[in-house]
Structures are given as C-alpha cells and as structure tokens.
Amino acid sequence: MTVDTGRWPVPAALSVVPTFFNAPVADLEDVGPGDVAVVGIYCDHYGEGEPGARFLPRQFRYACALDGRSPPGGVFDLGDLSVFPLEPERCLEVLSDQARRLARTGAHMLAIGGDYGLTPALLAGLRAARPSGTLGVLRISGSADLAPSGASVLSRGSASTRIRALGGSIRVAFAGLSGSVPEAEAAALADTVFVTARSCLDETLAGIAPLRAWADSCDAIYLSVDADVLSPACARTARARQQGGLSHGDVLRLLDALGPLRPVGAEFTGLVPDLDVAGRGRGAMCLDPVEALLSGMIEGRDPCR
C-alpha cells in the first residue's frame, strides 16, 4: 500500500518516521533500568575501508518499518549518537560521554551501524558508569583487530588492542575469526580465548566450549557483532575478505548456543547496506541477527550475572 504525498507515492510504512524495531522514540530521561536503548551511529570515517556503514541506521529503520515487526516492550529508539567525523579526539570523547550517561540510567545500549573503531569509546563510557566487576567483551567477527595502537585514536585495526588497554578488568574474546592475520596479531591472540569460523560452522558447536567457560567467568558481557563474520556472499563490508565465514543462520545458531549471555550492551557494526529507499537489501537481511541481540538483552535485564 502506498500513500500519495502529492509528489510521488511512498510505501505507507514510510509515511511515518521509521524507528529501530518500530519502537517508540525516546530521549535519555525516558529510559530507565532494564530498558533497551537502541541508538544509531553515523560514523565509519576511521574504518580504513570503503565507506557506507554509516548509513546502516537509516537503512535499518526503513527495513524495520517495512518489515512491520512489533516493538518489544521496554525498547526505545534514542536516535543517533552525536559524532564528529572530522575530529577523532572529540568524537571519541563525546561518544564515551554519551555511553556513560546512557549507562547511568540503567538502560542497556544496543548500537547499530558505524565501525568497530568506535567501540573502545563506547566501552570507556560504559566502564565509567559501571566500574566494578569483570566486563567481558565478546567480539563476533572475522577479524581480531589486534594491531598495535596507531596514529588514529579511532582506527579499526587496533580497536581490540585499545579495548584491552582500557583496564585489566575488561577481557576480550573472539568468535568467528577467519583468514590470515599479521604475525604480531597471531601472537597477541595466543593468550586470548577465540574460536574460528570453522569451529562455529561445526554442527555440534563443540569448539565453542572455551567461550562458554570464558563467559561464565565474567560478571557482565558486552556483545559486539560485526558483519564481517558473515560470508562475503551474505554481506558487503568495508574491507575485502576471503571466502568463508558464517551465514545469517549460523550467527543465530551461535548466539543461541552461547546460552543466556544477558549482555549489558551490544552492537552491530561494519555492514555496508544497500542504499535503496526501501532498505530491502542487506540491511533487511541482518534484521534477525540484530533482533537476536535485542532478545538477549531483554532476557538479561538484570545486568548483574
């Protein structure tokens, strides 16, 4: 069904402002403990690859509107976080501050779009609001991004290194790694819990047992899923990848097999969406994995594990 705007017809679902999961629009003062605040991040400027992931929040909202799925209770669309794409230091500072203020409301943040290079800033803010206990960061991605910290404070390639540098009580684990990595990164992985994409494709998923044990040893989990864990046939991402990787269904199966992680925050990064107005392309294809993140957060409204 379409609505005639007087200039051209648009799908009826898009005649209202599209939101994440068709959830109500809210501001910071509207959310409280246990709520899930979904935010967009319009910034992929430091991702060292092709641009486009910055458009995922917009395309994802279109996809949700056309998909028509019902908004779960306690889920709100807080709009997009403020970013300063041309000022990396300021961008880092502002993102961190927003994440801190959001975490202090007791709500859990689900960030959509943008680049993994911004994640250390979000985690710094989350950590500032909730300093106690061990925070486990489970990164489900094809790459570890454990390069030494470089010139850019928001570089994607060194994002995991910068997360580790945030403090001793933050522990990073990886799932879905594939392809080759620089020798130094392989060495950095030596004392890290990780499972490869091949292990995640195994029917029994027996190989993910170390991840379960790691998750049990953490007081809270931040779940970071990147589109580059998907096979190139399933998703376009900013950086070239080798063949292999998971399907959307494999990601859902992995999340299910990991059990109730009850993350205190989550994100979906790295997807370069189609720019069709209807958002029916790869944005829509990733609705289910992201909704699985949301479901996990709703189930885990008590942030204390």
Partner: protein, 303 residues
C-alpha cells in the same frame, strides 16, 4: 547501489601490489599480469557489455586481500584456521603490464602477447574479455610450448569449443552442453568433472581428475571462467548459471590446481564487475588467482 558506490579517491593499483612494468620488464619465471578491456566476444546469455573494469577491479580486490601481509611489520601473515605462516614474495615474482584494449582482432592480440611472454619463460595472466582471451592465450602459449595442457574451471567444455586439440580438464561443468565439444574433449584424452560431482563429492572429484605431472613438465594453461559460479552467489558475469559452483568451491579449486599443477599461463574471462555492485565476484576471482599462483607469490615460513 551500495555505500561502496560513493566516490572515494583511490590510488592507482597493480595486481597484488607488484611493480608496474613494460614489455621490456618481462623476465623468465615472472607472473605477468595484463588486463584486457574493450567489447566482449563469444555467445552470452545476457546483453553484451564491456569488460573494461574487470582487471582494475581484480587489482583492487587483490590488494584488499593482502592487507594482513602489508600490515605485518615482519611481512608474515598467519592463517588462523590452518596455522600456516607465509610471506608475500618481494618484487620479482610478478609484474603488471597495465591494460590492453586491442582495437582489431582480439584473439591475435592476446596470442601475440601471450606468445611473447611465454617465449621469455614468463607466465602470462590475462584478466578481462570473453572466449577470445582464452583462445588467444592458449594459442600463444601452445605456439611456444608444444606439450601444454589446459585446465579450465568453467561451466562448459571450453577448450574443445575453442579448437584446442590437446588433453583438457574441465572442472565445474553444468547445464546444457555442446555435444560435439563434449565428445571432442573426451576423444582428445581430456576429462570432465561436473559441478554436480563437485557438490556431491567435494574437492576429491577434482583431485582425482588432475593430471600427474613430472617435475620438468610445462604447467597447464588455466582458464577461470566466471560463468562457473552460481548466479545466486555472485552476479558479476554475463550469463546466468544455476546450480553452478559456490565461491568457496571456485576458490578451493583454483588453489588445488595451483598446488598440484602450477600454471604456465592463466586467464580470467567473462568477469563483469559492473553487474555485481557488492563486488563479490571480483573479490573471489582475486582470491582464486592468489591461490592459483600461490607458489609464485608467497613463500611458506617454517614456525
């Protein structure tokens, strides 16, 4: 349209970051990359269109795939699945001649260039164009090395249809076939492994078909025909192939051929990146080429 379609400044790239060179730079043992632009020839199921961007797309994709090597201070990258450590060979294993856009007979131009490269003891690698690129490459190399064979990863018995009379191995054949070409290929002592056999039996179906090579044999001419790949996975081709190879199968086959029978020459044909806005086809072709010429481009490092 995707975000990747946004204009963004890109430096001029060469295949696998190798040095750009002229014909005078051809030396024995080198892999010599060259792109072929212009209009395609041969029969196509979809409307014909130029393949001009094929080589440049593969160049860009190959450099993206080599990022772990470039970002490694030691130049060594580690495969996380296998633990294999390898290093990209320094300049001296490959050169890039740039693109050639012949205005006349493309077969003759390809044959002349491949003959010159093969005659110098180097290995031509042509990207772009259709059947005429493969025909010219095979003609040029066979004119230099009389005992060469052909291995093709494609949806047809291409070697026989191109008039190649030696033993050929076709991997990934699917759909209706030219009965005459099929019979000629078998009659010439060639073998055919269908996509269905590969789906059912995995790489073993291809492994069994690969020729036994003694150390001093001239490697085969390898043709990577993008029509082999199922249209459901990658659209950057000028025809629709249903029940074709998956990208993983295509890449694995190229790696298998490269490991067992290092090629004396290779061509990528029917690649049309403009049809695949996701850039998937050019990426998997680049990965296949890196696998096919792995022995020349990489050196394995002992732990």
């Amino acid at each position: 349209m995707t975000g990747a379609d946004l204009p963004k400044a890109q430096p001029a790239l060469t295949f696998a970051g190798c040095p750009a060179a002229t014909l005078e730079g051809i030396r024995a043992g080198l892999v010599v990359f060259s792109g072929f632009g212009g209009e395609p020839g041969g029969a196509g199921g979809r409307a014909a269109r130029p393949y001009g961007s094929a080589a440049s797309s593969v160049r860009a994709a190959s450099n993206g795939l080599l990022r772990p090597y470039r970002e490694s201070p030691s130049g060594v990258a580690v495969d996380l699945e296998t633990g294999r450590r390898s290093r990209l060979r320094a300049a001296g294993s490959c050169i890039d001649l740039g693109d050639l856009a012949p205005s006349g007979d493309r077969d003759t131009a390809c044959a002349a260039l491949s003959g010159r490269i093969a005659g110098a003891g180097a290995r031509p690698l042509f990207v772009g164009g259709g059947d005429e690129t493969a025909r010219g490459l095979a003609a040029g190399v066979c004119g230099t090395h009389s005992t060469v064979g052909v291995i093709e990863i494609g949806d047809r018995c291409l070697a026989a249809s191109l008039g190649f009379a030696g033993p050929a191995l076709s991997l990934g054949v699917s759909g209706f076939q030219d009965a005459g070409a099929w019979r000629r290929q078998i009659g010439n002592g060639g073998r055919i492994v269908t996509a269905e056999q590969l789906h059912d039996n995995g790489l073993n179906a291809a492994r069994d078909g690969l020729p036994d090579r003694s150390g001093d044999d001239i490697g085969p001419v390898c043709i990577l025909d993008c029509r082999a790949i199922d249209i459901g996975y990658a659209a950057g081709c000028d025809s629709f192939t249903v029940a074709g190879l998956t990208p993983e199968q295509f890449v694995s086959l190229a790696g298998l051929v490269g490991a067992s029978s290092p090629p004396s020459a290779a061509a990528v044909i029917h690649l049309d990146p403009a049809r695949d806005p996701r850039g998937h086809m050019e990426s998997l072709v680049a990965e296949a080429l890196l696998g096919l010429f792995r022995g020349a481009l990489f050196e394995d490092i002992e732990p």
